[in-house]
Amino acid sequence: MNLILHVWRQKNAKDPGRMVRYEARNISAHMSFLEMLDVVNEELIARGEEPIAFDHDCREGICGMCGFMINGVAHGPERGTTVCQLHMRHFKDGDELYIEPWRSRAFPVIKDLVVDRSAFDRIIAAGGYISVRTGSAPDANAIPVPKENAELAMDAAACIACGACVAQCPNGSAALFTGAKIAHLGLLPQGQPERDRRAVAMVVQMTKEGFGHCTNIGECEAVCPKEIKLDVIARMHRDYLHAAWTGRQKPGFREDQPAEEPMAGNRR
């Protein structure tokens, strides 16, 4: 099949960038979307042009590196799929596709379709962990976990931090991502000691990074390749309010504990 692509090209973070039209010829329906771009890139290289830069790694839908907008939808038209797992059979010959990077103040574009998602790393660093003594691993079933909680925690843990939720959200909110991390750890016994601290620290860091706030529109849920549910956002709010209520954590911005490199992603 042949396709017409409009791709966002931007040399570096400083370049204003623009949409450029390309033709993708002789594309097999069995290719993935990224393989289709590989074909286009080979042609570009043969012509001596700069290939289109995009993030990818596993190409199995598990690492969370890939992702861009296809016709205004994060990861393209198929639900529960990353672009690396999106096959060309879902498109028709002659389709015109607009391909753009994630747009968010907290995700500055580095080049073409590649954005800097280190804001997510800083949200995780703020509290998306449990403090345990490493070395001697405890026996697997030493701590009982209710079956339902294990399942829910597992569902939330499926988040691959791709950023599609932020990209699709009309408010540019990272609530689904942060909620997934808070729900995942908050549902398990190992996550309890730091539950209050975690909720406050991660929510505050998310706000500081410049993400918008959730207005319960649900677009994130629709594009999430791991089908994380809005419920995790309610869990995050619940944990946050609980922490504020008990008062063990100061709920606002914490001058006493500056986050590492606050807003570094935006300084570029």
Binding site: W8, G72, C214, E219, H237, A244, P251, G252
Partner: protein, 237 residues
């Protein structure tokens, strides 16, 4: 007593408001107050179907309790003020979150109501101002009859004023438009507020959503029936 440091409550409350979740809490709390008022006001209005006697007596009764009336007015005004102020701050924050937009953007499952909260709100507020000037203070005119001193205290002409007002198709149209927006606002807001304060349940949240939808439409039907009834029964001017 534990020795863990606890932040003083006032400072904590303020810190909470700094982060969006605190502002959402205010949105939800004031939203509840406003919904309760919307229900009460509808019940008052529906007395139009019981005739002028009943409705005017109800108006006189409300005005015979100045303490209650003013408490309600002040609480409402405070709720409206806090609702608007918090939404303004939230809107300002989220507007910054995407400085460069998309060339092409698709809104997949987003309901129209959920995406238009930010402009249905101000239009409703503008209408409410007109509505108060029209039917409470009478500044709009349109044949408004101010209360007169009667043998048993003041006499009110709520019924006549409503009828006179709604016989103007433009007034009725504005009213119906504002109620339609209010319906959309409630359609999303009435379940959204639970989610925002962290109340979510696999079984009850879908139920709550349907309830919010049915409720907002029922409210709309009740309110919109009044100008329609007036125009059919008394004719348009």
């Amino acid at each position: 007593m534990s020795t863990a440091a606890v932040e003083p409550r006032l400072k904590r409350t303020w810190g909470l408001y700094e982060v969006y979740i605190g502002k959402k809490l205010v949105m939800a709390g004031t939203g509840v107050v406003l919904v309760l008022y919307i229900i009460g006001h509808l019940l008052g209005n529906l007395q139009i179907y019981a005739g002028p006697e009943q409705m005017n007596q109800y108006a006189a009764f409300l005005h015979s309790q100045p303490g209650l009336l003013w408490t309600a007015r002040i609480v409402l005004l405070a709720a409206v003020g806090a609702h608007i102020w918090s939404s303004f701050l939230l809107w300002r924050d989220k507007r910054r979150a995407r400085p460069i937009g998309y060339v092409k953007k698709d809104d997949i499952p987003a309901s129209y109501a959920s995406r238009t909260m930010m402009w249905s709100g101000p239009i409703i507020a503008a209408f409410v101002v007109f509505h108060v000037l029209h039917l409470t203070t009478g500044d709009v005119g349109l044949g408004f009859q101010p209360p007169t001193a009667g043998p048993t205290g003041e006499a009110f002409y709520a019924y006549e004023n409503v009828v006179n007002g709604f016989r103007y198709p433009a007034v009725s149209a504005a009213y119906i438009f504002a109620i339609a927006l209010l319906t959309m606002h409630l359609y999303h807001g009435m379940w959204s507020m639970f989610q925002s304060v962290g109340i979510s349940h696999p079984r009850y949240t879908p139920l709550l959503k349907s309830l919010a939808h049915v409720f907002s439409i029922a409210i709309a039907a009740g309110y919109i029936s009044i100008p329609v009834y007036v125009m059919i029964r008394f004719g348009v001017k």
